[in-house]
């Protein structure tokens, strides 16, 4: 369970998050919507420990543990996964070596031995199928020369390999065509277990139609100003955010 209380965070001295309270229980899917610049990506960055953000107040706990005291890699190995809005290209590091290093780091954290090479490659093959990722892509360097859609698929592939307990999807739907969106979303649903929870950052209803969130939050100017059920996302899709902003005034 992820518990965020009164979280304030800034970047370069500028306060972006101004008191966030959010609890995500095991198995729940929460959608986070809001205008550009509201702080959605900052919130995901703070959860995974991006060094650019400074937490000035508040706390985040993960199963009762103080998440903010952990290094980014420790948070990852505790089961928190971020599907990056802009996945990074890493020329010269092959997907195979990258995934092997990541998976074995996770296993080490769990007190397990590294996965034997043959089993690892078998796992790569199996998980690739879930998001219909071409084997040509997994034999390349990480994200190098991937199209925008391929990069997003690759994020979900990595998620499939690492089996996180909390997945944060930061605009995973942007840059995807209709078919790719379906593949990614259905892939995500296949990977879900009753324990897997998710925070889904999106501007669009379409991804949420597939993922069926339990709760929808609206983030404006660093605060969660409205929380509701899936119907809230539908309302935003048709009416925009204006009515929420006006309601605040």
């Amino acid at each position: 369970m992820l518990q965020i209380s009164n979280l304030h965070a800034s970047i370069g001295g500028k306060e972006i998050l101004k008191g966030i309270d959010l609890t995500v229980k095991d198995g729940e899917v929460h959608a986070l919507m809001g205008l550009n610049g509201a702080g959605k990506s900052t919130l995901s960055g703070v959860i995974v420990g991006h060094p650019a953000y400074e937490v000035t107040q508040g706390s985040i706990t993960w199963d009762g543990k103080d998440l903010l005291s952990l290094k980014p890699e420790e948070r990852a190995n505790e089961g928190i996964f971020l599907s990056f809005q802009q996945p990074v290209e890493i020329p010269g590091v092959s997907m195979v070596n990258f995934m092997r290093a990541a998976l074995n780091a996770r296993r080490k954290h769990q007190g397990l031995d590294p996965l034997p090479a043959a089993e690892f490659l078998k796992l790569m093959r199996e998980k690739r199928k879930i998001v219909e990722l071409d084997s040509k892509l997994t034999s390349r360097s990480v994200n190098e020369g991937f199209s925008g859609g391929e990069k997003k698929r690759n994020e979900i592939f990595q998620m499939a390999m690492l089996e996180p307990r909390l997945a944060i999807l930061d605009e995973t739907d942007s840059g995807l065509d209709v078919d790719a969106l379906r593949i990614v979303a259905e892939g995500f649903n296949k990977l879900r277990t009753p324990q897997t929870s998710a925070i889904v950052i999106t501007h669009y209803q379409r991804l949420l139609d597939y993922l069926r969130p339990d709760t929808v939050h609206v983030l404006i100017d660093g605060r969660i100003v409205k929380t509701g059920g899936p119907e809230l996302a539908a309302e935003i899709e048709s009416r925009g955010f204006d009515w929420i902003v006006k309601g605040m005034e």
Partner: protein, 405 residues
């Protein structure tokens, strides 16, 4: 001055012994070399090709100078100079820059030359491996000469490795001459894997005939102070050279690569790619000149030097140079110096890879391009392993060597 005197004094003292132990071809060059060295002394930083080296300081320590002839059983196609064919022996010191003090010092003090001779149309079944091993119970200066002669249409892979088996201070002055006949093809690998107490001057001189091709790879995996010089003369039309290199340096290591590709005739190609990964307080230098002479039309040339400084105290000096006296050519050159990609680091850490490992993967990735360009597959695979071990600080001093097991 003291540094020069110690070598000239030594020469005067042991001149007779050297003449007696060596061959007529080598002795014929010796007195002139002595005069050149005595007159010119060690080059200073004012000399264009030694801007990034501290030659006098490197040669100042008074190590004992080894005068022993070649030891060990020589592999196929390899000979002591005394046993090589006369026309091959006659090529000794003919390609090297004899006006250079470092070469002169080598010609003055070397007593033997390892000759690699691949006769016309022959192709050795296996790569020719030359293993230079520094060992002993005291510090030493070593002069090494290698002469590689590729007759017309000969083909070969030659791997030269420099290793050190004992923790002494070593100073190596190595001169490699390569003479390539028409249509000869050579892949030449120079792998240095010594230790922090080793200083190496390695000067490679190549003369290429018509339609010949050379693939030269210089790999500095571990060292103390290294200065590599590579001079290639494209003397026959249609000849090609690829000169690549990678450097992994940390602590207080110093690596200086200095190259000259001399396009003398039309329709030749040259391509250079040197990549450095510098950590801690290491210093790297790359100065590469491509000279396209008058009349060398249709020259194609590309020169790239890319560098990664992993710390703020690592330093890189990069100087790609193009000098063109022909008007129908395609030449490019460029260099970059960059830092660790922070966004890639974070991406890897978010996947659970700890920071140290992530840095290591990024550093190894940076030079992958050079390793991947190696035509010899078995060596490529081996080098990926060696590079990984080197980055992890696990590089054993002399792996696979019978003497060290």
């Amino acid at each position: 001055m003291q540094a020069i005197k110690q070598y000239t004094d030594f020469y005067n003292e042991v001149r007779d012994v050297i003449f007696e132990r060596s061959t007529s071809e080598m002795n014929a060059q010796r007195e002139q070399a002595f005069r050149t060295f005595s007159t010119k002394g060690f080059p200073t930083k004012k000399a264009e090709r030694y801007r990034y080296a501290s030659v006098e300081a490197d040669f100042a320590p008074n190590f004992g100078i080894q005068l022993s002839p070649l030891g060990g059983k020589l592999p196929p196609y390899c000979f002591r100079i005394a046993e090589a064919e006369p026309r091959v022996r006659a090529l000794y010191n003919k390609v090297a820059d004899t006006d250079d003090s470092i070469v002169a010092l080598s010609a003055m003090l070397s007593v033997d030359t390892l000759v690699v001779h691949v006769p016309r149309c022959e192709r050795p079944e296996h790569p020719i491996q030359i293993s230079n091993l520094l060992r002993g119970d005291r510090d030493a200066m070593v002069c090494r000469r290698i002469l590689i002669v590729m007759d017309e249409q000969a083909q070969a892979d030659v791997i030269i490795t420099d290793r050190a088996a004992s923790q002494n201070r070593f100073l190596t002055n190595q001169v490699i001459e390569v003479v390539m006949g028409d249509d000869a093809h050579l892949s030449l690998y120079d792998i240095e894997e010594t230790h922090l107490l080793c200083t190496r001057y390695n000067s490679v001189f190549v003369h290429q005939g018509r339609n010949s091709s050379l693939h030269h790879t210089s790999l500095t995996l571990f060292n103390g102070h290294t200065r590599n010089r590579l001079d290639v003369v494209l003397a026959g039309e249609g000849s090609e050279v690829t000169a690549n290199g990678c450097v992994i340096a940390d602590k207080m290591q110093h690596v200086d690569n200095n190259t000259l590709i001399d396009h003398r005739v039309p329709r030749c190609q040259s391509s250079e790619l040197y990549k450095y990964v510098l950590d801690d307080s290491s210093v790297g230098a790359f100065a590469g000149k491509v000279l396209v002479r008058e009349g060398a039309q249709k020259t194609l040339s590309k020169e790239t030097n890319a560098n990664l400084c992993a710390t703020s105290s690592a330093r890189m000096y990069s100087q790609p140079m193009l000098e063109i006296y022909a008007d129908d050519v395609q030449c490019s050159h460029g260099s970059t110096v960059g830092q660790m990609d922070e966004s890639a680091l974070f991406y890897m850490r978010q996947r659970g890879i700890d920071e140290k490992e992530a840095r290591l993967l990024l550093k190894a990735a940076f030079i992958t391009e050079v390793i991947e360009s190696i035509p010899l597959e078995s060596l490529r695979d081996r080098l990926h392993v060696l590079v990984d071990k080197r980055m992890r600080g696990e590089l054993s001093k002399c792996e696979g060597c019978k003497l060290c097991q």
